[in-house]
């Protein structure tokens, strides 16, 4: 695979040489990165690229290799620059500005067609994180229903949608500020709830700490929590739950 990718220009000469020196069947060693080529087999989806902290060049080089190798690929927290550099070579690459995701979504098979993941937000400001979760779940083969801006300050907004929520197989609840929505949804359904605290708020929200602590201390059982603003993690967790058989 290394030589072929080199030939196709996915790898530079330098990276290809480095990779050949470490010729391990399960890893593609680019020097600055060890691509885990067993991830899809082991965990059900290829390695997802966390682009923050990487240079644009590093992100592009990793994503190029993965996108040539796999149908569906995700890069999170990516600047538009990554997409712009990638697009000329990878025609199926897409970019979602809200979710800051660069991705390739060629295989649209829905894994569990009758199961639905509900992605629910407390407010409009939580939507970017929710979109990261929703898109992740969709690219991984799930049907997603978006229910946005139903926070507890106007409870009837939530209750109006409770039938939809109860029909879902997994709920992803995305909320900032006091994060109360996770507990309220958790009390309404008999399905697992994945809670995502967001950093929406100010002052004593301490960049998402208030919602994080609230969700960890939820009085409703069947709620578990991912990192602040970690839409991807919630989408992946929901996908894993949803593909349970």
């Amino acid at each position: 695979m290394i030589l072929q990718q080199y030939k196709e220009g996915a790898l530079t000469l330098e990276a290809a040489t480095a990779a050949l020196q470490h010729d391990e069947p399960s890893v593609l060693n680019l020097g600055f990165a060890n691509l885990d080529l067993q991830r899809q087999k082991r965990c059900g989806f290829p390695e997802v690229v966390y682009c923050a902290g990487k240079t644009v060049g590093q992100s592009v080089q990793i994503l190029r290799v993965l996108m040539k190798q796999y149908d569906n690929v995700i890069g999170t927290r990516a600047s538009k620059d990554v997409y712009d550099k990638l697009a000329p070579e990878i025609p199926d690459a897409q970019y979602d500005e809200l979710a800051r995701m660069v991705y390739q979504f060629k295989d649209k098979t829905v894994v569990n067609g009758d199961r639905v993941i509900a992605v629910i937000t407390a407010g409009t400001s939580d939507i970017p994180v929710a979109e990261e979760a929703a898109l992740t779940a969709e690219i991984m083969g799930n049907k997603v229903e978006r229910i946005y801006d139903v926070g507890v300050a106007g409870l009837h907004r939530l209750l109006n949608r409770s039938e939809e929520i109860r029909r879902a197989n997994v709920c992803v609840v995305v909320a900032g500020m006091e994060g109360a929505l996770a507990s309220v949804v958790g009390g309404l359904v008999d399905k697992p709830v994945v809670a995502v605290p967001t950093s929406i708020g100010y002052g004593a929200n301490f960049h998402g700490l208030s919602a994080l602590l609230a969700m960890l201390n939820s009085c409703a059982a069947g709620v578990s929590v991912v990192n602040i603003d970690n839409g991807f993690g919630a989408g992946r967790m929901a996908d894993m739950i949803n593909r349970m058989r």
Copy 2:
């Protein structure tokens, strides 16, 4: 007043002498304490004694003076020892073990007979703090309605009581863990909500921090917050609001 109290045994000789040396009309100086004799006039209720951190003897001596001087008196965070030492001399003194309050409640005039303060808890474990709030408000002349264990994990428990809650003029919401109840109540009523975070919970509740932050970040407006476990403060705030004219 000093000499009379000395004669009646409320002050020791030492305290009386100290007090006389500082003969200020507005303060009774006991050396270890300066009783603020203008508090009732200035703030509407005599000085409330915070007994934690004081020796039993200090608490008793201060409360004795106040209970002889005023009809209604409150000592908070008091051990039963304080009451036991006080009771022989002050026949009207009472002790509430749950609320850890020692008090005298002789004047039962209700200040605003038609107005009600609702004291609402998320769980049974929050009741001691709620009782401190309720008792405080009652001793200060308010009508109180207790609505306990209506946390958001079972929303219908709260909605069942929503008529009572909406009829109240002020709501005191007492909740630990994720403290979501304050936001939900805040979204249901058009009256001021005084939120009391409690230390009920464990782990990432960090002794009440989770509920405190949640309440401070409530997405519902018209909610303000007092210290963790500060039932007295909430009762007093509700009283002040309720006596608005």
Copy 3:
């Protein structure tokens, strides 16, 4: 209402279609937002729009709907861009740069003409937060008195104004740094005090934490606290208290 607003241009075709699909009497569903049309009835004032974290377009679309529907409307933490986009269509829209509020203030009825809310600051730097509180209270129908820069480092500045302060029915105290002013005012008056910690300061003020903790631990009773820099919340709380009847 949906069709009419569509006709008047307040809703895009897309938003109007979305709204019609969810035709719920109590909610206007814009897809990215569920406007709570019962808020005024339930809580006494229409939904207030928190503009931070929303795109300018989202804020504008929500405010446009609300401003066409209600006389008095508030958007908090709004950039001037929101106002600039809104102004051509909504001639009564106004913008306060200090308070970062965009608002419509057509109904100037004072709800309780004889009652006054005092908004008091410790320093000049606290004024933006204080103005958010004052303006909020005014738009909601209250008479407001501003008493600025009377912090405790020069106590006579405060004492000079104590008559005005005592005449108020509710006090909003806005202070950063050590937030001592809330306790001092709390000790001077027999009216409820709503304390607003600000992030004014540096170093160990930890973005407002010092004032927040100080106010939560106030030795004066009758003080409750809102989030750091939450002028709006304090104004709303004061309004709710003030309209008590």
Copy 4:
């Protein structure tokens, strides 16, 4: 039901009277507690009693009612006193000292016979929390496999058991100190991982904060987190995931 329970002695006269006054089909109001009688129907299992912060008497009274009404009932963080008071009347009540759980486990139907929940600990000291999770999952109808003391300081201990772990449908990972086990397990399996940080450790573990933060920041996807030492929450989450159909 109220009168019958009164007759059988499960309710005191006082509690029965209180309950009758609030005769709501979905709640049993004991004054100090509102039992949520819809919980099983709504969420799949009767209300679980959090005994910490309740008096022994309150816990007993609530559990007695529930244990008479339902086959399988759980009380968490219960002292042995609760069990001792309950046992004479409720012959099927059991107590697990390690997990501090009092419970009734009469219906032993396994809901999803072929699915297994693996409960994995990093060390021996984490076992009490793990047992709370395992017992919870078992009482709720799941098959549980315990894999204890396989922390990352001796990786071969974990790798030796990797086949068992991979066969599980859900993994509950219980770890204190640096909580690294959650990430390592998360990287080995393609099933959802519910991570439970424990307070095992000292110093800069800050009562479980180190493991909590580590788990929230796991570089492996498909990991979500519950509160520190919250074995019950993890067991419940795993049960909810496992009963997905």
Copy 5:
């Protein structure tokens, strides 16, 4: 000196031997402790013994040596056991239960007779810390005036004493909860203020953090701060300031 102290029984044979092996003129090496015999010369007062964390035996052995060598000696945070073991041999040793200090105070020369250190507390509960400060300053040769329980909730109590306070040359202000007193005193005087936060309070006072942060952020200049509950440190700082010439 070593042999003489051995002869007089202040040192055990073992300690004396250890000390002789390290015969350094400026240090007395007891193995578990290196007594700094230059401290008085270098810093104006002999080494003060912090007894917390030491065994009773270690504290006694160190204090015995110092009390035989110097007139005035201080051991802080000492249990009464230390005193009880020391008293038979050191007839001038004294113990103050409130301040938890064991000390010898033989030389009562007042260093600066006309200068006064005012030790001021916000409440009665702060007195133990204040006494540690006051006693420290007295033993080091200063005249101390105690002004207790003049917290800001009743400002007139403080203003009544303002003449005394203004006459002092240094003010030590001891306060818990919100610690506002330091700022108010700082604004009243033109003398240095040493502020001591105490751990008095609960909940969001976080064991003294609220007062500590408040004092560090004081809006009044001329205020500096010592550790929470560090009465000794404040007394020593005040002493150093007061002996300025």
Copy 6:
């Protein structure tokens, strides 16, 4: 004074009118600010202006009044803009870019000619804070000696200067990172040490927290602490100590 300042252009018409309406001898009310005209008399130096959080216009207007009224005036945390606007009218105004201070220093009388304040830094990066302290002390009439970059990693650098340090009457120690210098200096001298933690460092220094906590916990007595980066506060405290008589 108001009218005269108005005539000289120091006050706008609006400000002068506002000031006249509140004609209080001790305060100059500018609406947005209450200048404390008793500060010099009460505390020995005119009000110092904290410019952060104020608009340039507000800072200028306040400083203009003060600089016309007093010889020596200080504005801290001022941007150069403040100076640039002030300079044309106030010829004696100066600006120190390092210390971010705008000031007027016309009266150069040294109050205590033979007493010296040593301002000592651990590193070069701490100099801006040190300069704020040194300049403050100088403008207030003290003789200052600067001893920079003598941190504990090279102890001989400090010991080389120990004679100078011991000769000082007060030491201001400015250090970031681990702040060890305060303890080491505190152990060398018999004079009061005012410690200033700086935010120099990164990572687990948490913006100065490491140095702050270290200094508060100094094992050397006679050390007290001001806020992180608060050079002004330290300079003022040192001045107050130094003018002790």
Copy 7:
């Protein structure tokens, strides 16, 4: 080995059976514990038992197996009960009350006879942690020199011992409060320094946080840090460094 240990009574029947079922050469599975029998080979010393959080019975059973198998064995944070139960069967077991260590130290070979590890404390109160470090290093085959109570408040105490310190090959520095000693020693030597923050102190030391942060921010290079009070970890790190060849 399993059967032999069973015969000798080191394993109960139950444990032996469990162990046999999992007969893995590298692990001894006791059900509640998986003893890592490769640890000595892999890491140079048998598994060290962390006794906190384990029952006495669990600790005893694990230590019994290890002490029969290996010459030198360590159990940390052990109560004396563990030793008392172990002693009758394991005659070479010893207990150090100060260090709370139970251990077996049969092979006293010194691995690197000419190399010395210096264990240095700031105060007497730090000795228990230091002894844990020193004893650990000794049992692992190192020569240790103890230099106690040489904190920076009396620098000459440290400088007096600087020759000894410089001769060491590794320095373990144990200090609480402000932890300055680590930086000062780090600046004196050209050898690696392992710093151990202790929880000695109070107030703003926050259970060792002040020393921890100070040490992590040391301005001296060549300093690395272990957990608060982790004498064992420091001893082990020093041992690993010291056996470098």
Copy 8:
């Protein structure tokens, strides 16, 4: 040396004059900096310059002096500006943009030719910190092996490289997020591990706190920790360990 450097232009006239006034053999006093000229002799390498917080001019002036005096010199956290100003005069100066280091590396002697320091990262985003460590160690005379992007989410990537890792004499492990790699490596080797937490991550990683706490609480012994993102400190510690003889 001063005059010669002045002649060569390394010192300005002003600096040279200042230096001459303080003519101390062990220090070069530049006024704003005291260069420690004994550092190499005392600690084995010349003073390393921390450029953050210094002006470009200060950094340049200090580095110029050192680079003329010593062969190998390091400036950390330097902007490229420092290099650009330095390069014309110091032809051997180099700049590494990733590591933000300016350095001179003229003496390439490897101190311990057969010993290797392995620098290992969890991810690609950790490489800048790792490069700071690797480069530091190399400039100080060590052989370094880089093993990047082998985090625990794909354990085989690490295990593939375990032979290389085990051959190293010291391991530097650089990881952000949950920092689990330090524990896993610590469990694989019998060599000292220096762990460097990085700030890579977001949300509840709190700028590196999660990895820092995880590493401090590592269940593997033989792991010690440096400050967040402190590649230099780890490289220096590894160098010190590696040069052990």
